[in-house]
Symmetry: C2
Subunit: 379 residues, 2 copies
Amino acid sequence: MSGDYRSAGIVRPQRASFAEALPLRCGATLPAFELVYETYGTLNADRSNAILVCHALNASHHVAGVYADQPDNEGWWDNMVGPGKPVDTDRFFVVGVNNLGSCFGSTGPSSINPATSRPWGSDFPIITVEDWVDGQARLADHLGIDCFAAIMGGSLGGMQALCWAIRYPDRVRDALVIAAAPNLSAQNIAFNEVARSAILTDPEFHGGHFYAKGVKPVRGLRVARMIGHITYISDAQMEEKFGRQLREGIKYSFEPEFQIESYLRYQAEKFAEYYDANTYLRITKALDYFDPALATGGDLTRALAPAKCRFLVISFTTDWRFSPARAREIVKALVDNQRDASYAEIVAPHGHDAFLLDAPQYHAVVRIYLARAAERAGG
Amino acid sequence: MSGDYRSAGIVRPQRASFAEALPLRCGATLPAFELVYETYGTLNADRSNAILVCHALNASHHVAGVYADQPDNEGWWDNMVGPGKPVDTDRFFVVGVNNLGSCFGSTGPSSINPATSRPWGSDFPIITVEDWVDGQARLADHLGIDCFAAIMGGSLGGMQALCWAIRYPDRVRDALVIAAAPNLSAQNIAFNEVARSAILTDPEFHGGHFYAKGVKPVRGLRVARMIGHITYISDAQMEEKFGRQLREGIKYSFEPEFQIESYLRYQAEKFAEYYDANTYLRITKALDYFDPALATGGDLTRALAPAKCRFLVISFTTDWRFSPARAREIVKALVDNQRDASYAEIVAPHGHDAFLLDAPQYHAVVRIYLARAAERAGG
């Protein structure tokens, strides 16, 4: 190990095809589907050192390293995953997978619907966290991984880790649930609904069948992204970074005048260029629906009872999207079930996005937790 | 006085025309303009008992009472203003005025531009809080009021009261600044910018000249209203009122499924029916620009030095739009100036909207404060 500056290096995405249809929560069945994934590190002989990294709203299978032809396109969790990093690929075999319904390569609304030979569009079913996890389990079968050393993720990715622990208790030894919540609050749902309304009412959405028209509902996507973006950053962080700074003085116009306005618009424009509106709609719905305690009448303790693995739950003090109080609900339910649960509340100014950043305490907690997990497994 | 249940009764809006042009902060000049207003109570002989009520984003001159032909259309602050109420119209002569640029009767973007004989639309100038206050001062002249007993408002209305105290220090004896801030934070501006983006990019906005097309950018207005609405309510209040309640079970569709979704959509649809998009754009800009300390290099104490009146500043514990910390900035600057400032931080669960509700402590504070003000004035 030579320190944190090493990278997973050149990586390349792989593709797994699944011929067997996947039954979905919504009642529909997805016919043959594909998942795009990447791996970092080496699977050991007894296939016991695999870590699955689940992604959140706008990320993908590209977790670490770079592509040979895109040396600047670092994976979204490159500071966390790599040789000598907290998720140490000298020790673990790490799998990044793109979820069903995404627009980054796995089967999704912009894929071709075999029934029509045209893009699925709005005919693509609504996917849930449980469906994602079921799809990921197929990938685990494909890779010959019976039981993951750990499954981890931040935000929506943390919800997937939690779902795995409940749904496949024998297939995961450690779950790392970071910047997540046991379900969305009314306010969380409200923000998602505004974002969806912006997309659904964009005239270029065309009921979800915009691909054939050669247009994209970029206006709606931009507004959706701006709303999301505000909720990812803490109020204090936004104040420190932008405050009331002006670009070039007050112009009395509707062009961006404050730095925060042009920052939001710029980020939104970039996002709308590469992201798919039907994917955005579905991922926010998956967030809204996630609620393991729905089946147990709201009792999270009973909902988590099937889980057998150890847990590391992490929250960030300034995260107002999924606040520490929400993470503590998960911890309480685990403790009530007498599960082996560690909890770290990281003091970080960045808000929800802190899970993507490299606050030293945060990375140290993950590093130590996984090192101990490896020792326990004799790795 | 017979208690809180009495109302200002049947009221009717009045209209004042001003022939003299109004110079605006943006550099433009508004030619002859009109202001719509209502009054409640009786102006005393020495014209010393007048209270001006300034409105916030989507309210108007209709502060209290009802119209003869609309017995259900109560004024927006009817619980606060009326005979025997905290702002007691048995004692005070209360003036509600609709601001310039509004869509409720005063000259605004939907009024006829005398230069073109068509609606102003996007040619209507961008108005600031200072411009509103200057317009209100003209109305005071028209009513023969040299000095208001008090000027009061919540949210953006509180900013107008603060602006009056600085801009016309000899024309106001008491300023009641409720649920306000000395300026908008980066996060506040960000939410406004998303709302404006939704309107500006609605294809039916037509660059602000939609009136002639017989359409309205209702999609954009709805999204804007939904965003605003979320910020008016506290997270906890939304959770208590809606939580994750479903309307009719999970349908796996993009129709509203959670109660919070249908509530937001319903409110947004109502709003988009009656509100004007050009007004929305301008009022959010007036909010963004408001910053008395801009002229003093960010020094709020120096900015408030010209104010001579007494102050009552009120904030609400769960207001995350304009938090108590922001109100305390105003109080600190007043204290630093050795002004007579009272401050009440009201424990209320409702968030920003608490200023419109009748939390007993809140109303008691206003009632006692104004009663003492009247005693001091020998009223």
